[in-house]
Amino acid sequence: MEDRIKEALKEIVGADNYTEQLIDMVSYSYDASEHHHRPTCGVWATTVEQISRILEMANRERIPVIPRGAGTGLSGMAVPARGGIVLDLNHMNRILQISIEDRLAIVQPGVVYADLERALAQHGFFFPPDPASGKVATLGGNVATNAGGVKGAKYGTTRDYVLGLQVVLPDGRVMRTGSHAMKSVSGYDLTRLFVGSEGTLGVVTEIILKINPKPTATSTSMATFDNLEDAGRAVSQIMHSGIIPSVLEILGRDTIRAINQNTDLNLPEVDAMLLAETDGYTQAETEYQMSKIMDIFRDNHPQQVQQAQSEAEAASLWKARKSAYAVLARIKTHFVLEDVTVPIGNVAALLKGVEEIAARHEIQIATFGHAGDGNLHPQILYDGYDPAEVKKMEAATADLFRLAIDLKGTLTGEHGIGLAKAPYMTLEHDAAAMEAMRNIKKLFDPNNILNPGKMALEG
């Protein structure tokens, strides 16, 4: 990058907010995936005007710009695949407004999910998507990846809560989408186009979020099944019952085994464990919903069904699910955490298929995830320094994606395409859909400067 460009960047953000120091360049090369590539420099922007000027110049000079939140993405979305300028948005971290009567919050993109959660809790409200990375991930990142979480079954994902955005387009123009109103059918839904666009269309600089009152009561239960099909049938029957659990999670056999080998939780080594939570505003209401769910558990040959009688008991039931990621993360030096998603009725088939893939490629895959919305997390464990294991991991991944598509599902329910799943885009999307996406990219970013190399948009 030419010195005059570096000087211009320093002039825009201030010398203290510009870096090309080695430690920053290494840190900005990575996200939470296995992908990495060095950027040329980084800037800590603080205003929309600065971002507009940076993009305007980068567009003129054809330099890649990579918007970055907390870098917790799991598919290389924030990795500067073509070098360029990392635009770190964490300094824009103010909650601008919370309006309870309008049921909305307006935030800057660098606000951490948990900080908004805390601010809303004071009013008895919440922003439901609740990604597991919420303590650290930014709302800008959540919007750009359409983040979801354990409550997806009942509350949907980030997309369902974004009312409007302020976005800086690659040529530096500032655009507003949506409105402050609860509903709007005014023109094309540009807001939704930007939600989940992985920083490839524009930089989100302000977010208007719909917020919900926070339910004050919950009930929790757990059931184990010797037979995967029984667990799958229980999930389907819950969907038929008319009850929508606030959480419905599943742990597969390999995950349970790994937890047992690495903790003293002593779980029964069964094919599947289901955890359910119902929520509402009175205990009677949540208990009623839970009793229906437990009836269904009992109808499907469970090995054990247990309901938490106190908050402490609920916490202990959740322990297995909550420890899954940490336990699996410690087993091998490397892992990929996938997030294939299938229609809810196919969850058991997906679990079975994953076990077959693991056996076929002789690789450890442990699965857990959100049975309530069909989103599973097969975590493939391998040694990244062993070329043979890397090959197995890659082959298993490819099979996994094919399986998800065969089961009428999708490559990714939460974590996005980024670099990791770009080669598989055409598996899911037909030629016309790919062309439409590429044309949208060209419309907003004709010079391909915003987060280039992602989502197979260049094909």
Binding site: I23, D24, S27, S29, A70, T72, N93, S133, K135, R330
Partner: protein, 366 residues
Amino acid sequence: MRDKYDFEIKYRDQILKCSRCGFCQAVCPVYGSTLRPACNARGKMLILKEVMDGHIDLNDELIDTLFQCTTCANCYQNCPSGVNVPEIIKQVRKDMVHIGSCHPAFTGMNEVLQAHDNIYAEDEPEDFERERNKQARYVYFIGCVGGYREDESTLATLDLLDRLSVDYTLIDEVCCSGVLEDVGFQINPRLVQLNIERILTTGAEAVITGCPYCFRTFNNKEQYAPLKEKGVSIIHISQFLKNVAMDVTTDLRVTYHDPCDLGRHCGIYEEPRGTIRKIAPNFVEMRHHHADALCCGAGGGVRGAFAKNSIAMARRRLEEAEEIEADVVLTECNSCVHNLSNAKLRKQKFKVCTTTAFINELMDER
């Protein structure tokens, strides 16, 4: 091929187990005050991974992150992969010093302790108006910060011990020198020897430390093992006070800041709270407490080497005290008191002091 660094030999597997989840970013005080991800635990582990992969080498360019760590262990506490970052950082600093890359403040600290007996190079120790090196049941070991920077706090603690008729003595103490291990050097055998001799000479059955860091050093460093071998136990003042009846109380709104060295590093959370609850029924926790407590920003050599950021970390901690409208912030570490007091803004009307100093003050007022 270069020779392997000691940090690789000892910690390669752990460093590779960092899954880059970034969870440490939420709790790292250095990140919290700089918003610079290169400085959080993930940033540090990535640097070391690239060194191991041969992409970069250890050098001065890495000092800003590898030496900017308070060793508070909040990352380790929250790390899903169990990466013990502070231990890894301490080892890397030794490797860095070995190849001649070190923050000047850290080199300075080592040089001072070669030539002097305390980290402030002060040659005139405060005598606290008390006889030293007596025969007594306990040795009260003050620590450098309590001895040379927070002497009023120490004086109050000693007054309290007198009021409680504790049979103790001070000694001609020298720096425990444990901190050298954290900043890239080795514990100083000369100083260790002096402390051990002077403690044993008193015939004491236990050393009561005012400083959680000295407490850790005496308890955990093998160089100090002779103390335990001679039957001398090491207790922190907060443990000592646990069972002592205090007939004073206050209506003030009191909170407690867990020093990293006492809390996360030693698991001592309840003894201080037990004592405080006895004297202050109006006790409230800050937003982050116990194992989640925020670091005051002073540890790991950061106060000396990165003073501005160290104060910024302390400010973040004090904001939490302000948030709960505390009148008094108590803690069990003079180093925390020192940094928090230096960071306190004029508008922040609460007081910051050690529990012992506060109790003594209540007794004075009675």
